[in-house]
Amino acid sequence: MDHFLQLLASGVVTGGIYALVAVGFVIVYKATGIINFATGELMMLGAFFAYTAMTAARAPFALALLVAVVAAGGLGALVERVVLRPLLGQRAISVIMVTIGLSSIFKGVAQMIWSGEYRSFPPIFPRAPLVLGTVILPSRQVWPFAIALAAILLVGLGFRFTRTGTAMRATAGDQQAAFAMGIDIRRVFSLSWSLAAVTAAIAGVVVGTIGGISPQLGAIGLRMFPVVILGGLDSIPGALVGGIAIGVLENMAGGYLDPLLEGGGVKEVVPFVALVAILMIRPYGLFGTREVERL
């Protein structure tokens, strides 16, 4: 039982971080109908921004996180303006290809600036682990989880309760009608990319504090697909539930099945088994809009 609870708790904690990555996908998809394949690389860049602020400028973590957020927000808006705006009205598949191209460019640029070397953040969080009964969670997982959760909550509330959020939801619902209602949909697109880059950067930073960073960190982005699909491509609560579900599933599979197999590795595979199952049963995810399946 203790083993189960331990696996469950670390699964939830990991899943919260997955959920934040998924939110980055969801924001762009909601606004523009595009799956942003450069999300992982935006995470990676965000992590490097914070890392550089901490090591080169000796900034405290909170400031470094802020630097990453501002820089990523600017980068997101810039990418939208320079690369994606001219493609407005093109077929979704062309734009998706462009995001794949962007991911390669980001990776290459990161390699040029920071080299391919693997780096670790300096120690950041207090060492004391979180003890809940028999469950012990290391602080280097609990803090990132808390940051991720706070970020998701902020984005979710912003979407629901602010005028800008309402404009973004309206644009997601019906672009034409939003345009006719006087909503500046170009600004909504720009804000969406900006916000998605910000959430990706925060996710990148917290992932980086756990496992270190390198230009390859973005590979995690694609591993988040089961989360995004399970939750539904256009739902923020879905991203949260999907993230935690996949986190728990992964951890349970790793905890119970990996020891039984010679090579292990079930943990990495299980989310994708789940992905295939979801696509067969409920292609629009748990919380997604039904018509999403057209992609």
Partner: protein
């Protein structure tokens, strides 16, 4: 009823379209169409399918940019403005196929229409929470009074739009446009697909909007009964060209119009 010294023969046009041309890959959707819409009137645009009615409406609301010609709102050239800016200037529209924000309630949909008139910045609106916002409350009250009571839909407030009948969805679409407090309201087939009772309700609301609010209306409609009953002026289009213009009675007797319609039927 002429008013204003500058227009002895023609009443003030709140909306004017001058020599408007639009083509899609060589196919002319509109060919030098002229239109003057008198303030406070209801103008009907009729014509067979593919005559360019919706293209004309899209050029007026800013969804299409014409190849040539101008669109003037109260004398001001808006031809180069995008749709959101024209909405802010007072052009509202509804859609032929209902285009509501699916997951939201009726109230949220209608309030979105009213948002166009709020002029607070992005950041301040981002930081403003609903319970803190006086502007939001005032807006809510105004929408209740001016739109929900007016269109007899108080009972629908909390419903999500997806759960409404087609006729009611069209009414919400009208409500949302009305919440924008437009100067000109463009209606793209407001009674299409409605049953007789829904059609009568909608026709009555359209007349109320014109008479009680003084809003100028331009509508596209295939239901000739509705067009003849509601409109002060009717414009008939065919293959992107203006075939005829006049009172409903004149249009009904116009040989060109009759030929266009019969020609299509034959």
């Amino acid at each position: 009823m002429a008013e204003g010294p500058a227009a002895p023969t023609d009443d003030r046009a709140i909306l004017a379209v001058e020599r408007l041309s639009l083509s899609f890959g060589g196919l002319a959707a509109l060919a030098a169409v002229d239109l003057r819409v008198r303030a406070g009137s209801i103008t009907g645009i009729i014509g067979p399918n593919g005559a360019g009615k919706t293209s004309l409406l899209n050029c007026i609301s800013g969804f299409y940019r014409p190849d040539r010609g101008r669109v003037l709102l109260d004398g001001e050239d808006v031809t180069r403005l995008p749709a959101d800016r024209r909405a802010a200037l007072g052009i509202a529209r509804t859609f032929q196929s209902v285009s509501l924000f699916e997951g939201m309630t009726v109230l949220d949909n209608v309030k979105l229409g009213a948002h166009v008139r709020q002029r607070s910045g992005v950041v301040s609106s981002m930081l403003r929470l609903p319970w803190a916002s006086r502007e939001e409350l005032a807006l809510r009250e105004e929408v209740e009074r001016e739109v929900f009571d007016f269109l007899e839909m108080e009972h629908l407030r909390r419903r999500t739009v997806g759960s409404l009948s087609y006729g009611l969805q069209k009414r919400v679409d009208l409500a949302r446009a009305l919440a924008m407090r437009p100067r000109v309201l463009l209606l793209d087939e407001p009674v299409a697909g409605m049953n007789e009772e829904e059609t009568e309700d909608m026709a009555r609301f359209i007349l109320d909007v014109q008479e009680e609010r003084g809003i100028t209306i331009v509508l596209i409609e295939h239901d000739m009964g509705v067009v003849m009953d509601l409109c002060d002026r009717v414009v008939a289009l065919s293959f992107g060209e203006k075939l005829a213009e006049g009172t409903p009675g004149e249009i009904q007797k116009d040989p060109e119009v009759i030929r266009a319609y019969l020609g299509e039927a034959a």
